[in-house]
Symmetry: C2
Subunit: 499 residues, 2 copies
């Protein structure tokens, strides 16, 4: 028996002629809201399109469009000749839906979600640096010296010549011409043994570390880690389930003999041999050979993070450990965050062999398929036209000068409060404090008073380092360095007297 | 007692005046290689810089620079007045290093690395599509209709106005103006209830899925998955340790009642309610309410993937399930890969509350800190100037026409071999085969013969679907569609006759 319910009226349905929402959408929205809030009930017959159109003074077509969408989404069902009805299978036991704009809900739902990403506060607070960088934030490139016009010119060329074939999904390993440019640069400048086929383009070092963790790290596996060392690498590998073995590190890198003797079971090591982070030294060739030999004999993977080797002031860049290793046990990590700009999000991994390349290409595809294509093309343009080398050369000169300025300031004003040594490279100096001072407390106090510093101890886990403060100098001009340093010394004095 | 070893000679040291390698680097390279290969032994005294300079006819400064680098890297040690010596602590038991350029090593080292990324072949083979897309690759935007000039104009503006503050590390959640543009678009066009503060910018849907897995998925947890459904989501969640519960899905989405009854313990569900992938239907509002109600009562998270809802041809886009859910249980996933271009790598997540936003911002920072900044700025420029809406409108008209063309072709030439139904939206049709035909074998056969298709069964796990082939039509013009379809039908005929 066909339903012969009365036509229902649609309460309050009026169109807003001034609205940018199309008329049929307004009708649709009003009726669906009325159904959801149970002003109109399941099984009720809808007014015919002709009747409704007349009653609100619009063309019948508008009502037909609205009904079509309501039917498509299951609000109403209809059959020719019998009219449309509010769907029977709408569950009327459901509470009425309130349609209102809400601000973001507070965390009541998700308070219980344990997000245990060991992401440092520094890491998440980066945005605040937009307001105006303060000395001695580390490590920040001198972004005001970035060659904006040249970069823009490269970008124009890329966007002018962009073809539809570029826009589609592409090689997960990265844009091939860029990989060729990087390989050529690394061979010439870092003595890295590599071809474009060994390179995987990443969204920066952080993703590179995550890819390594996802391909190589197994739960419970041990890895050696310099102490003090780069805590973000520590965070990524331990998050993946590995156990960190902290190896005491000094100016000339970490103690390979101690590590071999005390923790021979580790199967991965993360190091910064060209420029130990944060202490700043270079691992001598003897230790390098000890390490590569041990790695070969013990099937250990060496992760070489060569994060800022471009900035060597007294010599050229230090040749990579990768180039010295004849056993193919090294995964080499590089980034453009320090030499160009962090917001670019382009880094790379150089892998030792085909099997590894295949595994990492899969891991990258699984993570996010590939890097953004146009950024890769712009960077390729920038490198292949020689701009990269020119920029590096300029920054090397600028940064060396800035280190000299800071060092002279420390020598002149540091008294017995802080001392520092000339560094052959890098983007920061360490201002060593008196041994009785807690660098972590001092750093917190300075940060609260407008001087941005990080304590050496923030990078140490098991072995207590001498107290010191990392002073990034590359992003600051002479005046900023001078004002910053004098302010810092005044603050330290006040603090020490108070203690 | 000071060493009084004889000065050693440096065998074969000659400079190449034509080389681009600086003279001091040539000296350094030659000597370090001689030390590594043990032509020069530990403890031997180096010739004085003056003597060596004279013997090879260069300025003494060049030799001093070379010695400085050799000392920095630990090859030699020196003291004023006593001369330089090859370092004692170089381990002479190490085998001699051979310095030669090698091609990429084969996988001997790493054959044993088990990379178990469930990345489909289709996924990794995308690059081959560069050579020239073939019908009926799915889903590909009509990239030859991409507004290159307008996009380039937006890019020029961004690069012209780029400031150094943009280049630094930025908000892990994504560029705020872009998030505002997306939120506004989603509120108006998808009935998504959201503010910019709820959005996390991702490198596309694949990263969005990984972030969800890393924040919400626990080992052994159950999740509902449409069957057939989007296999990449299945891959990401199971890779993270969750157990997939496959729920039979039809044209109107998956069977909520069946899922509730048979698998009430699941705490996550992944769905494509606006346009079921791959079947193409819309989940009716009754089912949507059933699901959100169940999710609220059972603390289940709903992942709504709204991947191509922009392309609805007979009505406007379907309002999101997120907008209907009053309980804040929905994580909404969107992407620009389908509506703009895949190589852009920008997608987004809309999260239900503050706690979730905080967790995901940390997860994103941990994964790769943030998206590339300039791409976000270009996209913001493109959206805020109305180009996005215009482009969508054009593509909607174009894609609708292309669907009509393909449908007409199938009706005219499909005979009893394939049939298809008009779809209200999306980027592909399903060509249903005779029920006795194995769609997977048929697809393999067609692919081998130059017709790119995917079988429906490739997306099914537990429930056998009717045999059919996914035909993407959006990227192909009338001639390509016609030629492709005729070729496909000829091939199917030949294959069936052979069987």
């Amino acid at each position: 028996m066909p339903k012969i319910a009365h036509h229902i009226s649609i309460p309050g349905l009026q169109l807003d002629a001034a609205s940018k929402v199309p008329a049929y959408k307004q009708v649709y929205g009003h009726i669906s809201a009325a159904i959801l809030s149970k002003q109109i009930r399941a099984g009720q017959r809808m007014p015919s399109s002709r009747v409704l159109a007349e009653s609100i003074g619009v063309s019948r077509n508008i009502i037909l469009l609205a009904y079509e969408q309501l039917e498509l989404e299951g609000y109403i069902t209809g059959s020719v000749g019998k009219g449309s009805f509010v769907s029977e299978h709408l569950d009327n036991d459901l509470p009425a839906i309130k349609h209102k704009k809400e601000k973001i809900a507070t965390a009541e739902n998700t308070q219980h979600i344990a997000y245990d990403y060991p992401v440092s506060k520094m890491f998440m607070d980066r945005e605040s640096s937009k307001a105006g960088k303060k000395p001695f934030q580390n490590p920040e490139p001198a972004l005001d010296h970035f060659p904006f016009k040249v970069w823009a010119k490269c970008a124009y060329k890329v966007f002018r010549e962009l073809e539809f074939s570029h826009l589609n999904y592409n090689d997960a390993q990265g844009y091939f011409p860029l990989r060729e440019a990087i390989a050529s640069y690394l061979r010439t400048n870092r003595a890295v043994n590599c071809e474009a086929g060994q390179i995987i383009i990443t969204n920066g070092t952080q993703q590179g570390l995550n890819l390594i963790a996802s391909v190589l790290v197994k739960k419970g596996q041990q890895f050696w880690m310099e102490d003090p060392g780069y805590i973000n690498a520590h965070a990524v590998f331990t998050h993946a389930g590995a156990n960190a073995i902290h190896i005491p590190a000094g100016h000339d890198g970490f103690d390979v003999d101690w590590a071999k003797k005390n923790h021979p079971d580790a199967s991965l090591v993360y190091i910064t041999p060209s420029h130990q982070f944060p202490l700043g030294g270079t691992m001598p060739v003897g230790k390098r050979l000890l390490l590569t030999d041990w790695a070969a004999k013990n099937k250990m993977w060496i992760v070489e993070d060569d994060y800022d080797n471009e900035f060597q002031y007294t010599s050229g860049p230090i040749p990579s450990l990768q180039g010295l290793d004849q056993y193919k046990r090294v995964l080499y990590l590089g980034t453009f965050s320090k030499v160009l700009f962090p917001g670019l999000r382009i880094g790379y991994l150089v892998l030792p062999d085909e099997g590894m390349v295949k595994a990492f290409a899969h891991a990258k595809a699984f993570a996010d398929r590939q890097n953004s294509i146009t950024d890769q093309m712009i960077l390729h343009e920038f490198m292949s036209n020689g701009h990269f080398t020119i920029h590096l050369r300029k920054m090397r000169v600028l940064y060396k000068k800035r280190q000299d300025v800071l060092l002279a300031l420390i020598n002149q004003y540091g008294e017995d409060l802080i001392r520092a040594e000339k560094q052959p490279g890098g983007m920061h100096l360490i201002a060593w404090l008196r041994e009785d001072i807690n660098d972590s407390e001092m750093a917190a106090y300075l940060n609260n008073n407008g001087v941005t510093v990080l304590p050496v101890s923030a990078y140490a886990v098991k072995f207590k380092p001498k107290p010191g403060l990392l002073l990034g100098y590359t992003a600051f001009n002479d005046k900023q360095l001078t004002d910053g340093l004098l302010k810092m010394i005044t603050l330290i004095k006040a603090k020490i007297v108070k203690v």
